[in-house]
Subunit: 264 residues, 4 copies
């Protein structure tokens, strides 16, 4: 049985706590949230202690603390966890490179283990990993990302990150067809160009979050596609990290490394 504290009791924290409570091998012993009042929080019908002070961490002495909070809180949480001998699983977004390096040093020097990842969504991380393998082997690629019509930016951050990491996996830009003649005045329908990849953004009601990467070769195409129906897809990977943390002897950075996709 792995004893857990959740740091960050917002919407995402509550989903994670509900999943942890439902798991037979995990025991949720408390929740930390700097913005909350001390009290209890109802998770799947059980009353979980809720505290706003990091002192509670040493008091509860869990095996693992899961942190989905904010950059400022995470920077305070890491030393408190290390002092208390608690292994961190960190998914807070917007951490600076310095903050990540510092967390790594503190955890490693204490001889503890843990996981820190900007993205715990298996499908998205795996899609990019596979695309990076294919990128040097095909000369041309188009990315078609498809989201609900409430999305106000384009192309999606994931599509931009995919194009950048595919480009970094190659020696040169992809080869890109550009249209000599535009059949709708004032528009270039070939999409945004990034490292020679063409990025297209579909926006429609009825869509959730989808990305299609099509590589073009000699009389063949290879397509990698990710369809995400909700944001729940990150939860199994957080639980995977929690279960891995007690066996780790250093802070693993990135879901791809946790999954063994990268070994550097």
């Amino acid at each position: 049985m792995i004893r857990i504290v959740m740091s960050g009791a917002g919407n995402m924290g509550r989903q994670i706590m509900a999943a942890a409570e439902a798991a037979d091998d995990l025991e949720l012993v408390g929740a930390l949230d700097g913005l909350a009042e001390d009290g209890v929080i109802d998770i799947n019908g059980r009353q979980i202690p809720l505290r706003s002070s990091l002192n509670a961490l040493a008091e509860w002495s869990p095996d693992v603390v899961i942190d989905f909070s904010n950059a400022e809180w995470t920077e305070q949480l890491v030393p408190a966890a290390v002092v208390a001998g608690v292994r961190p699983v960190i998914g807070t977004s917007g951490l600076s490179d310095d903050a990540i390096t510092s967390a790594e040093q503190q955890v490693n020097e204490a001889g503890l283990g843990g996981v820190l990842a900007a993205n715990f969504a298996l499908g998205a991380v795996l899609m990019m990993h596979l695309a990076n393998i294919a990128a040097p082997l095909f000369d041309s690629v188009d990315i078609i990302e498809q989201h609900h019509d409430g999305k106000v930016d384009a192309p999606s951050g994931t599509a931009v990150a995919t194009a950048q990491s595919m480009r970094a996996a190659r020696d040169t830009d992809f080869s890109r067809n550009t249209a000599e003649r535009h059949n709708v005045d004032g528009y270039d329908s070939r999409g945004a160009a990034l490292g020679g990849a063409s990025l297209h953004s579909v926006r429609l009601p009825g869509l959730v979050a989808h990305q299609v990467i099509i590589f073009g070769g000699a009389d063949e195409t290879l397509t990698i596609r990710h369809d995400s129906m909700s944001r729940a897809s990150f939860i199994p990977e957080i639980l995977r990290a929690v279960r891995a943390a007690p066996q780790l002897d250093h802070l693993v950075i990135g879901l791809d490394r946790l999954l063994g996709l990268r070994t550097d």
Copy 2:
């Protein structure tokens, strides 16, 4: 047995003749081509008479003449066919509206039948027909046309025609998401806008000719897709027109009308 003459002995004419020769119920009796020298042409190992003068039409007196030539030749062919009592199946591209109206009048007044269509490709015609039915029932649509990387214009003529005919099937423009923030400087990845539809052009080696139309609704999408692997897809519909011609009592304009998709 339907006796046929082919008008236009270029690449397309030869493919049509080869298909006609291979059909049990069709007999190819000659080929006409204003640019060719009189002689014979080898079709599937059989020597077919080839003539450059329209006089041959009356001489051969076929049931049907198939015409894939050019606008100028077609305008001479129609009266020659009507005088000779030969039913025309015309697929010549670039005919003016006047030329089409004139052909219709001549054929109808002679009490003959025939078929004239700008596009004999079943899949493309049907895709547009189905899209026009769906167009008034969904508020939003994106078209993703995908072609080989040798194509120099964008979006494709078919995509533009699809957007225009979908718009004509509605009272108003489609509702279209526009991005407030562009994540790749200098590019709008939302594609070309036409009647509120968004048109995206994918260009990759390994592709042939494909079009995807995605309609967005309440928690659902409807997709119509056409994949064409070669230009051979028009041949069965030309043979369908040839077989229908002897029963027709007027010039049918458009493959959709020949197929009974339109009755006006």
Copy 3:
């Protein structure tokens, strides 16, 4: 302003009431449910009267009654609605042909209008309508229906209904490839055969409800695909029926007829 009563206050009825309440041109005046106790029901924060007796219908005298209940209750509701001059919009499933004919007669003889449909999901109804148009024009078809892995039957009812209605739209069975050699012992991977169509069932976590229909022709394929992300997709069409009902002079049977897709 159209005044509405909801008949059937289960999960679906509540979703419909919430949507009706949110619409500016609709006024929800009460809910009927034979199984409920008289009282009130909270819809979007407003207390709606709830009654178990059909007598309430005449008392409330709405313009339209929406009925998503059960076959037995619907058979009692229709005469009560007709007597009270209330136009019905009926989506109850499992109605017998006799019950449907009887409802039609009662509504029509009273000079009222209304709508009765087994399926109010736009995408599913439209997919089948389009498939029926394509069915006579292609010789071969495969249907790939894809659902979450909790589904216990296969192929889906929609896939079976699609195959049956496509077959009815043709003179003959589709032409179907059957494998002469099976490379996995004990299995025929060509799917279920129905009218010459091949039906394949994909079952995976992460899927919701999807159906792909691929027609095969000469060097081309035509694909019609429906992706449904939730059951909410029927709500806009129920509201469409409610808004149409006051102008109708007979009971329209089927969403395809309400949408003008069928005129028989």
Copy 4:
């Protein structure tokens, strides 16, 4: 300039010779074919010497011999090439494990390099490589392979090989939904089961060779798809092997190893 001899002058050999002739850095000096008569063979308008005896190999003394012949001929070719100091690029199908091991020993002991691969099609090899990476990370998978309706076996050899190699990349069978109720009598539409993967075979005119692998996870799916429009897709990889051979110091077995996808 790399000097080449082609071993095997059938249809595939001719395509390879045409591609080699068209490349600026390759010089085709002759063709070997045990079944042919000595003479010449026309490749892109140039007359290439054609010989039926392996003695020609030492005489022509090329840098590389490309072999697409049959198992018996390949077993004779390898020692002849090694003696003549010629590096082999072998794509002959149906070689026994013993023949492969023997070829490897001979080439390596001679201090030569070369490439031997059962499959030179980049897209197919890469699809399987990517699928093997994803296989341990998802609990469920369906494979939908799609081919022209002239194919007489099902599922395709590639689909079977994909399922087997994905299973080998995991500790356990995939988790597989089985239908409790079959809606078309006498048929199980869930496809063939292999290692817990479900294999579906679509057969339609208009298709060429396509495979879709869908992995199912928590509210997400990951799809890997390969579309092959012709058999020409193996040619660039054969040329890649030819260009690599002069730098190699051993016989590389498998296109995945040549591409650096595997390092064992």
